[in-house]
């Protein structure tokens, strides 16, 4: 580090990129899948039928269902079906014992028949969403680790930009079939092309968890009373306590209509009913996050449930809160229409590819030195194993997750947990495989396996359900068809990658290629 500024930054970029690269790859890929979490859930619970949207009918059905099954609950939550998620979801919390949190029970109700849907127990796309910031670790460690990874990503991005000064010139430079050079050009091109996305997604992930990881300013301003900060930030849903006098709950539909009128036709996301059946019942109607870019958690209309009287209209943000809400909204992409959602997905994949190419390059550069002897030092072998397991292994794990969803019987106990187990078992096995197999063969076999698992998803779906491509395309169920087609596409792409690697291996021994590259380097 006695060299110049740029060399120091390149050094930092290289090493933080290596240490956190594997974790960041997993976070980026699962986070990218989470942009389609509702669609993935739809595929994983094919029993939930999509109906034409009719909020008033859905709301009446939900109210009737909850009235019948949970009249004494402390709280009801109703999430209306929307164009992406066809399920009418109701949830209730049992009456609270003092000092204890009541249990939550969640059901998906058919918005037409009013019966609970007997869908297979599955976490669906929610698994990827949760994994990408909780990492399947106990609360709050996963969130801390993923936020730390985000900070490292931020450092890696900025040092990458410094290292790579000729941003615009190099953007038009791509030298294919040049081994290490091509990897570098590819890494730079994806990095620069979606740089605004990378910066946005990284900084916003820090902002989302800022009150957890940076609590000092809250404590400095509010002392021990940190709750006061949150109730000032998110104007309190100061709901009146239950009085213990029974009173029937008014119909929710007129309140829904009134709330939408308050927002000039904005969509309703969620309803919360506190103390249903009490004279002090309150109904809070929250605006859908898909209405605008900036998330406003306080955007809600509150009613007295027993009289139907409008109590409060919340919302409106100060400038800092608006900026924070914009970061949140941009990261989540709830507002994104299908085209924009695909753009998010592609940008996420580009980010994943940038991390992956970086890891491959780190190893490639160092392997060159040992290419002639053919003996790889222990630490390079370790990096190679982790590279294979963290990239192609993760793809296999994702495939195994989808297969487990279709193959585990619906009556299986703790079924959704076993889907998750299948994911981690497959990932663990791929780590074992990568440790046992030599370099390139590890890649080829794992990529082929992932290609097979993902490419066969439409076939698997056709055999195990009545929702195969012919049906879903004819019915216009684009979430179901899109899932099948995307898996098929990914399978074909991975097969191509595996085939390419195999071809590259046969005619040209690695030592020879390495020599060629060294010569060109000397010639420059």
């Amino acid at each position: 580090m006695k060299e110049g500024f740029r060399q120091a930054m390149a050094w930092l970029h290289t090493w933080v990129g290596l240490i956190f690269g594997w974790l960041l790859f997993a976070i980026f890929l699962t986070g990218t899948l989470a942009y389609f979490k509702d669609e993935i859930t739809h595929w994983m619970q094919p029993e939930v039928q999509a109906h034409p949207l009719d909020d008033a009918r859905s709301l009446a059905v939900a109210q009737a269902y909850l009235q019948q099954h949970a009249p004494d609950a402390a709280r009801w939550f109703i999430t209306l079906p929307n164009s992406r998620d066809p399920g009418l979801s109701v949830m209730w919390q049992d009456k609270l014992d003092p000092g204890k949190r009541g249990n939550f029970v969640q059901k998906v109700v058919d918005p037409v028949s009013g019966e609970a849907v007997l869908a297979r127990d599955s976490k669906g796309g929610e698994f990827f969403y949760r994994f990408h910031f909780q990492l399947q670790m106990p609360h709050p460690w996963g969130r801390w680790l993923s936020t730390l990874a985000a900070m490292v990503m931020f450092v890696a991005l900025i040092t990458g930009i410094v290292t790579h000064k000729k941003i615009f010139k190099d953007f038009f430079t791509f030298r294919p079939r040049k081994g290490q050079r091509s990897w570098l050009d590819g890494h730079n091109a994806v990095g620069v092309l979606v740089l605004p996305f990378h910066l946005m997604i990284t900084y916003s992930s820090l902002v989302i968890f800022m009150s957890m990881v940076m609590p000092a300013p809250i404590m400095a301003s509010y002392g021990a009373d940190t709750r006061a900060f949150f109730s000032e930030m998110f104007p309190a849903t100061d709901n009146a306590p239950a009085l213990g006098q029974p009173a029937p709950l008014q119909s929710l539909v007129p309140m829904y209509t009134q709330a939408r009128a308050q927002w000039a036709g904005g969509q309703v996301g969620r309803l919360a009913v506190n103390n249903p059946g009490d004279v002090n019942a309150s109904v809070n109607i929250f605006r859908a996050g898909s209405d605008r870019v900036a998330q406003d958690f306080g955007s809600m209309v509150s009613f007295n449930g027993a009289t139907g009287e409008l109590l409060r209209v919340g919302g409106g943000q100060s400038l800092p809160a608006l900026i924070g809400g914009t970061f949140y909204g941009l990261h989540m992409g709830h507002f994104a229409t299908p085209v924009l959602r695909w753009l998010y997905f592609i940008c996420g994949l580009a980010g994943t590819a940038m991390i992956g190419t970086g890891l491959v390059m780190w190893l490639g550069k160092r392997q060159l030195k040992h290419a002639r002897t053919g003996v790889m030092p222990y630490e390079l072998r370790l990096v190679e194993t982790l590279n294979i397991a963290s990239m192609s292994g993760l793809l296999i794990a994702i495939g195994a997750f989808f297969w487990a969803n279709r193959l585990l019987p619906a009556s299986f106990a703790e079924r959704s947990d076993w889907e998750v187990q299948a994911f981690f078992i497959a990932w663990g096995l791929s780590l074992l495989h990568a440790a046992l197999r030599r370099g390139r063969w590890g890649w080829i076999e794992q990529l082929s396996c992932a290609a097979l698992l993902l490419g066969a998803v439409p076939l698997l779906n056709a055999i195990t359900t009545e929702q195969h491509l012919g049906v879903s395309l004819a019915r216009g169920d684009w979430a179901m068809a899109g899932f099948d087609l995307t898996c098929l596409g990914s399978g074909v792409f991975l097969a191509w990658a595996a085939w390419k690697m195999r071809c590259r291996m046969a005619p040209q021994p690695t030592a020879e290629r390495a020599l060629g590259l060294n010569l060109t380097r000397e010639a420059r």
Partner: protein, 100 residues
Amino acid sequence: MKSKTTLPVSYRLAVTSRALAAVFGGYLIASLAAVCMALWLPTSRADAVVTGMMSSFVFYLLAVLWCFACRTAWRAWFGVMLPTAAFATLAGVGLWMART
């Protein structure tokens, strides 16, 4: 960066020292900068806190870059401690004024 056999122990210790300065010193700077903003910005209390938290990560970034860009590990620590002391003083004055 060279092959591992040529790296002396002192180099490794220096890198470790820089890394510690970057991770912990950087967090300290970021936290204290956020506290200063929370106490001194002329907006409402909640807004000042949010602004402080939101911008703190930029301070963290700058501290990390400094720790690895400067010439020696000692300078890294010095460069971390100086703004820490400044922010701490500013925050202390702010807290004292808020109390009186």
